[in-house]
């Protein structure tokens, strides 16, 4: 294998790492506070649409990314509101968000006159950083910095302790005077913003288009990475890279002559899910998730 291939796979992996890692570290924040959102996939999809529309309306890629974040924050707010104040089922709300997003994005694509596919023109996509051996999206370093920042927030700050208290022992946190539901709501909005950014990255950066299949299960993969990481954002970054690597490898295996005949690409694509299951099954004893995860907090 030539060096060019290695660089190609590395860059593909880094680009594939961004959306799943962003969504995963957002989910890490809200799961630390006790919320479990399986609607990530839907938020990614809505973020992709909002990102493309925002970029087109303003002519600027950064406004596009901000639009994706805003859309994500709004859905996160709705999810958080149902999951805290209204004491609704988080799992069912998540399922509903996914279904709604799938329909709404496909509907919007049809309304925009391009059923199934809406491309974002080159000028309003995020400009790549040229690095000689290839070009890299600026969101790759942003994602890495964010993973460290969230780790620091959750493990080294007072706010992080409060967030984890709201997830681990909401009753005690409440007695100690912490606003449990407000903390949870805040994390839901933050998680929505990060997932929305991940979605906008797909449309105004990586793919340069919106399709209704654009997320391809990345929201669910992010959920798996959160479990794999045991709520550690740095391990989520590593998990995101490993998933990205297999994503890149599967594409490479499926297209490279001489290899595609020997290894079925489907098995390469399957591998990260099997690895996640194995890691989760092997490590679940060590990893401790918040006691209040997925349960609405009711003051007795």
């Amino acid at each position: 294998m030539e060096m060019a291939h290695l660089w190609g796979i590395l860059f593909l992996s880094l680009h594939a790492m961004v959306p799943i890692t962003l969504a995963a570290i957002g989910e890490t924040i809200e799961e630390s506070a006790g919320l479990f959102n399986i609607g990530l996939e839907g938020i990614l999809l809505l973020g992709a649409l909002a990102g493309a529309l925002g970029a087109e309306a303003s002519g600027s890629a950064s406004i596009g990314l901000l639009s994706g974040m805003t859309a994500g924050a709004l859905v996160g707010l709705l999810f958080g509101w149902i999951g805290t104040t209204l004491r609704g089922s988080q799992l069912i709300t998540g399922v509903g968000i996914n279904l709604f997003a799938l329909g709404f994005v496909a509907l919007m694509l049809t309304v925009l006159g391009a059923p199934g596919f809406h491309s974002v023109s080159r000028e309003i996509q995020v400009p790549l950083i040229p690095l000689g051996v290839g070009s890299l999206s600026p969101l790759v370093p942003v994602t890495i910095v964010l993973a460290f920042a969230v780790w620091w927030l959750l493990r080294r700050t007072q706010l992080g302790i409060w967030i984890r208290a709201a997830g681990d022992n909401p009753g005690a946190a409440d007695v100690a005077g912490l606003p449990v539901n407000a903390l949870r709501l805040g994390t839901a909005v933050a998680a929505g913003m990060l997932a929305g950014l991940a979605g906008a990255y797909l449309s105004v950066d990586w793919f340069g288009a919106v399709t209704k299949e654009i997320t391809a299960g990345r929201g669910f993969i992010a959920l798996a990475i959160v479990v794999f990481s045991g709520l550690n954002p740095l391990l989520a970054l590593l998990g995101g890279f490993i998933f990205g690597l297999f994503d890149g490898l599967a594409t490479w295996v499926a297209t490279y002559p001489g290899i595609k005949e020997i290894i079925p690409w489907q098995f390469v694509a399957m591998a990260p899910y099997i690895v996640t299951l194995a890691v989760v099954a092997g490590g679940i004893g060590r990893v401790r998730f918040p006691k209040g995860l997925g349960v609405p907090y009711l003051r007795e």
Binding site: I38, L78, I82, L86, R87, G88, S89, Q90, L91, I92, T93, V95, G96, I97, N98, L99, F100, A101, L102, G103, F104, A106, L107, T110, V111, P115, K212, G217, F220, I221, L223, A224, V227, P264, Q266, F267, A269, M270, Y273, I274, T276, L277, V280, A281, G282, I284, G285
Partner: protein, 354 residues
């Protein structure tokens, strides 16, 4: 006054589902208005397209058939206190197992039965590790079923492209042999005897949940797992039972779809006739309040939306995807217990000054 309170407790869930359905349709109407469509014309076309004639009823019921089964998979788990979203992957395996049996060329009446059984076994095999991981390693079923859904997604792609491929047409699997197909109920519509299989399964689950001690134990452990554990009900047995029955039914959903649905009787590459049936089943179960009879009604509603949605796309020209938006709104609405609380307040008032 207690009787009217009891009556309200019975119909409460029904009214909640109707109300959620109404909210879904109203929000759908507002979205249509926002995009400049005429919601009245759209709904008229949708509902006459799905329930307006014998043919449209038959198409609606044909679409409802697999949803009844995947919804039962989800509902039986919910009754046992588990959140099993693995029907999606299990039904792929069921459908492909049914196709694989065609390769053996069994004599005529047996091949239908063997195909159905093979599909159920495939669904159970795909479900078993979920139960084992939960019992042995404490892995939450939401995570493991999501993983297994993706593994079966790629595994199915592999089987379609490399193992069960039609030698003449590479974009699909071999077709189920003619003698193993489920007959059509009406000569022109897609409706087939798969519906009868689904309804028999509904009757079986009704009987199992409310007329057997195993069903009672399952419901008890779902209602309060700690109390039922102290009452001597084995939680391990419940988890195994729930996932194995659920897997078998989801496998059956895949089989019925590929053995009964004309015209190809094969799994196409990309699985357009299978994808999302498992997830839609979750919505059906939610609206049907995880009750077998409610599920039949909700599946007919969803099936109607699918059929009518395609008609609506032609006539007033409203995109089919609006149907999914409506479904999503209905499910988010049903997640909110505020609805339920309105009824419990009314119930308290009715049960007399209390």
């Amino acid at each position: 006054m207690t009787t009217s309170a009891q009556w309200l407790r019975r119909v409460g869930p029904l009214i909640e589902s109707l109300l959620a359905g109404l909210i879904g349709l109203v929000i759908g109407a507002f979205i249509m208005l926002a995009f400049g469509y005429d919601p009245l014309a759209a709904y008229l076309s949708l509902f006459s397209g799905s329930f307006g004639s014998v043919y449209s009823w038959a198409e609606t019921l044909a679409n409802a058939t697999p949803l009844i089964l995947t919804a039962l998979t989800f509902a039986i788990a919910m009754r046992g206190g588990l959140f099993n979203i693995g029907a999606e992957g299990q039904l792929y395996m069921g459908a492909l197992a049914a196709v694989a049996v065609s390769l053996i060329h069994l004599p005529s009446p047996f091949n239908i039965i063997v195909s159905l059984v093979a599909a159920m076994v495939a669904g159970m095999i795909w479900s078993l590790p979920v139960a084992l991981l939960k019992l042995g390693r404490g892995v939450h079923e939401v995570i493991s079923t999501i993983m297994f859904n993706w593994i079966s997604h790629f595994f199915a792609f592999y089987l379609i492209a490399n193992v069960l491929t039609d030698p003449k047409r590479g974009e699909k699997t071999i077709s189920i042999v003619e003698s193993a197909r489920l007959g059509r109920i009406l000569p022109t519509a897609s409706l087939n005897y798969g519906l009868v299989i689904a309804l028999i399964t509904v009757a079986f689950i009704l009987f199992f949940l409310w007329r057997t001690s195993a069903g009672f134990e399952l419901r008890a452990s779902g209602y309060n797992s700690e109390a039922s554990h102290y009452a001597g009900i084995s939680l391990r047995k419940q988890v195994m039972r729930t996932f194995l029955i659920g897997g078998a039914i989801a496998g059956l959903a895949g089989a019925v779809q590929v053995m009964g649905r004309p015209p190809t009787y094969a799994v196409m590459s990309g699985m357009p006739q299978l994808v999302n049936l498992g997830f839609d089943g979750i919505g059906v179960a939610m609206i049907g309040r995880n009750h077998p009879v409610g599920i039949v009604v909700a599946a007919i509603f969803f099936g109607g939306l699918m059929v009518g949605g395609r008609i609506m796309q032609f006539d007033p020209g409203v995109p089919f995807e609006l149907v999914r938006v409506i479904e999503g709104v209905i499910i988010v609405t049903l997640a909110v217990p505020e609805l339920r609380r309105i009824f419990s307040v009314a119930r308290r008032k009715l049960s007399g000054g209390g």
